[in-house]
């Protein structure tokens, strides 16, 4: 705001509504979320044990990672799919409102200091492979293996405004809903409901719930603690 010499919220509002480029810049700065690979390892463990085996019954698996931020979650899911022999018939749609985050996600380059924590998370999630085989180190960065980056489509998408764009077997949206009010949460959860096939899975963040949606009765619980749900309605 200082940069643009805006000093009160009315001015900010006016600028946001009239200047598209300013709006974009504002979004870049305001919507950065913090993420890590295999964050909440028990969630990934639950995916391994309860969701992936069922996904295996589909000839093509379409997965939507909504609010993918800088991509750590995307590569975690890619690794999971690989380890369960599902990667080759999967397509992961990774979306976010923040174009800068998407750019970083697409590059798949992360700081080497983070890899120790990520390795620990990976192991706790039930990973039995060699985590370091999934990336190449170079000075103080690592780059995710090329093979993990195919079958992933990165695309901008605004959860609050955009419509459904496909039908998925699995939608993961973790620690994004907490930033929306109840009305918007309901709107977005309805969007997810429409975008899921029957018996498709929805994974939320561990302090998130279906509490604020009118569609809550159309979902069953696959794992209450890890917030994984299954669409039963339709």
């Amino acid at each position: 705001m200082n940069e643009h010499k805006i000093y009160d919220i009315e001015e900010l509002k006016a600028q946001l509504l009239s200047d598209e480029e300013f709006f974009e810049q504002f979004i870049q700065n305001a919507s950065v979320t913090v993420t890590e690979m295999f964050r909440d390892p028990m969630f990934y463990k639950a995916l391994r044990e309860k969701v992936l085996p069922r996904l295996g019954t589909y000839p093509i698996i379409k997965i939507w990672l909504a609010g993918c931020a800088t991509g750590e979650e995307v590569y975690s899911i890619a690794i999971l799919l690989k380890e369960h022999g599902l990667f080759d018939r999967s397509i992961i749609y990774a979306t976010d409102i923040n174009q800068n985050s998407l750019r970083i996600a697409k590059e798949g380059i992360y700081h080497i200091d983070k890899m120790k924590d990520y390795t620990y998370n990976y192991i706790r999630s039930g990973g039995e492979g060699s985590f370091s085989s999934y990336y190449k180190a170079n000075f103080d960065s690592v780059i995710m293996d090329k093979s993990l980056r195919k079958n992933i489509v990165f695309s901008p998408h605004n959860l609050a405004a955009d419509k459904s764009f496909n039908e998925f077997q699995l939608i993961i949206c973790r620690n994004v809903l907490i930033y929306f009010n109840q009305n918007l949460q309901n709107k977005i959860l309805n969007l997810f409901y429409e975008s899921l096939c029957t018996f498709g899975f929805l994974g939320l963040g561990n302090k998130e719930s279906l509490l604020f949606t009118d569609k809550k009765k159309m979902f069953g619980e696959i794992d209450r603690k890890e917030r994984i749900f299954i669409k039963t309605g339709d």
């Binding site: 979320t33 913090v34 907490i178 930033y179 009010n181 302090k207 998130e208």
Partner: protein, 190 residues
């Protein structure tokens, strides 16, 4: 709504919280929000352990929850806890503040904005300076600020750093803080 109490602590916090809050009766009308620094993947249910020892109802804070009296809300591991202007709770997954998530500063700052002079901020034992800035903001918004007497704390660093900001009004031992809270309760009971 009457006064709202926010408490921050880290090292030694469990014992301090238990000592402080055990004598508070279960119909104590003011809501209490607590940030205790805790491990990301916190297996110990801090909430359960506290509930066993305290009379007041203890629960882990949930997002969008409306603040109620006679409840102690504990910030969940790995989320910041915020108090909104309409006295509902929000959770955030944003970056660490003072190397912590949940961060005491985040709770204190948002609560100071929301509750202003109705806020009582308490800093207890702990090993870093999280909460010092928050104490300053509480004071600036007209709230009451209390720090545990550092020499009586398991780890005096956290209350020390709060005191150093020059914004702590009362420096009390744990029993002293409990008396302060109980005197509010007795006064209201009339």
């Amino acid at each position: 709504m009457e006064k709202i109490i926010v408490i921050g602590c880290s090292k030694g916090g469990f014992t301090a919280l238990t000592q402080l809050l055990q004598p508070i009766p279960k119909d104590f009308p003011n809501p209490i929000l607590v940030v205790q620094h805790r491990q990301k993947y916190d297996k110990t249910s801090l909430e359960e352990l506290l509930q066993h020892r305290l009379q007041l109802k203890v629960k882990q804070a949930d997002e969008k929850e409306k603040l109620e009296g006679s409840v102690i809300y504990i910030a969940p591991p790995d989320y910041h806890l915020l108090l909104e202007g309409d006295y509902t709770l929000s959770l955030s997954s944003d970056q660490l503040v003072n190397y912590s998530r949940p961060s005491i500063d985040v709770l204190f700052e948002t609560a100071a904005e929301a509750a202003k002079e109705k806020l009582i901020g308490i800093i207890l034992t702990g090993a870093n300076g999280d909460g010092a800035f928050g104490i300053k903001i509480i004071r600036m918004n007209g709230g009451t600020t209390i720090a545990q007497d550092p020499s009586s704390a398991e780890c005096g660093i956290m209350p020390e750093m709060a005191i150093k900001t020059g914004n702590v009004q009362k420096i009390l031992t744990i029993p002293g803080i409990t008396s302060f809270l109980l005197s509010m309760y007795d006064k209201n009971k009339g």
